[in-house]
Symmetry: C2
Subunit: 210 residues, 2 copies
């Protein structure tokens, strides 16, 4: 049974796709068009009552929220593909910690940059320069913490690639790409090295150019 990943081929659904590639799990994507509001259709809302993406279907099991889905597969197939959780319970705790940092500190200002710089016209809302300025400042401060952390540790949770690093891939790819703020990564030596390393993984290369 092949896992179905509902979503467009961008943004948070990619968090799931790159995880499935790391775990060597076969999947197919089911396109859902956010621009035409397909994610708000009654049929889709039966799968995901908030109208958000991605959603997976694995046989008769349905799961949503990208960071829940990647935790589920990392746990279910612990010994298949890359171990994305670390070896000890303490490692796992740090993976969870940095996953939460990604969700609560890193993602919100980055998401603002992505929405206001890349998607405001296609989604039909006003690009707000003040939001862009404040978000850039906030993200810079978060990246200063990352720089310090990554000067002592090869990856965020320790010396192993994990869900915590993986979760940064889709939106950081926007930051250094369409958002046009590559300098934020490049001017921080350890963040830059970390980004080069995680973004050159075959799983991400395959996902990003899909």
């Amino acid at each position: 049974m092949v896992v179905k990943v509902y979503g467009p081929d961008y943004a948070s659904p990619k968090r799931v796709m790159v995880c499935l590639l790391e775990k060597e799990i076969e999947f197919e994507t089911v396109p859902v068009d956010l621009i035409t509001g397909e994610n708000r259709s009654p049929e889709f809302m039966k799968l995901q009552p908030f109208g958000s993406l991605p959603v997976i279907q694995d046989g008769d099991y349905t799961l949503f929220e990208s960071r829940a889905i990647i935790r589920y597969y990392a746990e279910k197939y612990k010994s298949q593909g890359t171990n994305l959780l670390g070896k000890t319970i303490e490692d796992q705790g740090l993976v969870q910690q940095w996953l939460e940092v990604e969700a609560h500190n890193y993602h919100p200002p980055l998401n603002n940059l992505v929405l206001h710089i890349l998607f405001s016209s296609v989604l039909g809302f006003r690009r707000d320069e003040q939001v862009i300025k404040e978000s850039e400042e906030k993200l810079g401060k978060v990246l200063d913490v990352y720089e310090d952390r990554l000067s002592k540790s090869r990856y965020l949770a320790g010396d192993f690639f994990s869900l915590a690093d993986l979760s940064h891939l889709p939106f950081t790819s926007y930051l250094v790409g369409g958002v046009g703020k590559e300098y934020m990564i490049k001017e921080r030596k350890h963040v830059s090295g970390w980004w080069d390393e995680i973004s050159s993984r075959p799983s991400w290369q395959k996902t990003d150019f899909k």
Copy 2:
């Protein structure tokens, strides 16, 4: 070795305390005063580089982010106290899903209500009626999804109390208390029954009146 929980005796540190009580783990609290900015002191920032609370110290292991800490203890002491993760990997996936819903759909509008109604004067910022109105509407829509879910399932992730339910306790307690919006829970039959059940657990009774 007793676990140290850094934080004030309110808000997200309570998420950790109620979890430790459910898991029958001994702990002591170390007060950190947010009002005087103790969480921004260089000493505290060594423990938590973003200046957020809570943080735990367990021997020489330090961990921050409340939802990472509760996942860590639920996993580490799986068979001690209440099982907060469910029995199967699929249950665990649903626990993760509803924990993410709490973090990303439920908490942000509720946190706005708490900040603007309860804490704006003490934290020295302007109470914004527009934010209050919009947050109340958003939270209402999330609670409609909960009402539907809880009409089919005793708890959020299934027929067992889990981290997903527990994570709602501290801020929902504000909603029905100081925020003065108890009607949002009471007017939804299944949400109301669920709230009565989870908030009457001995662990929460002990935490809430601590």
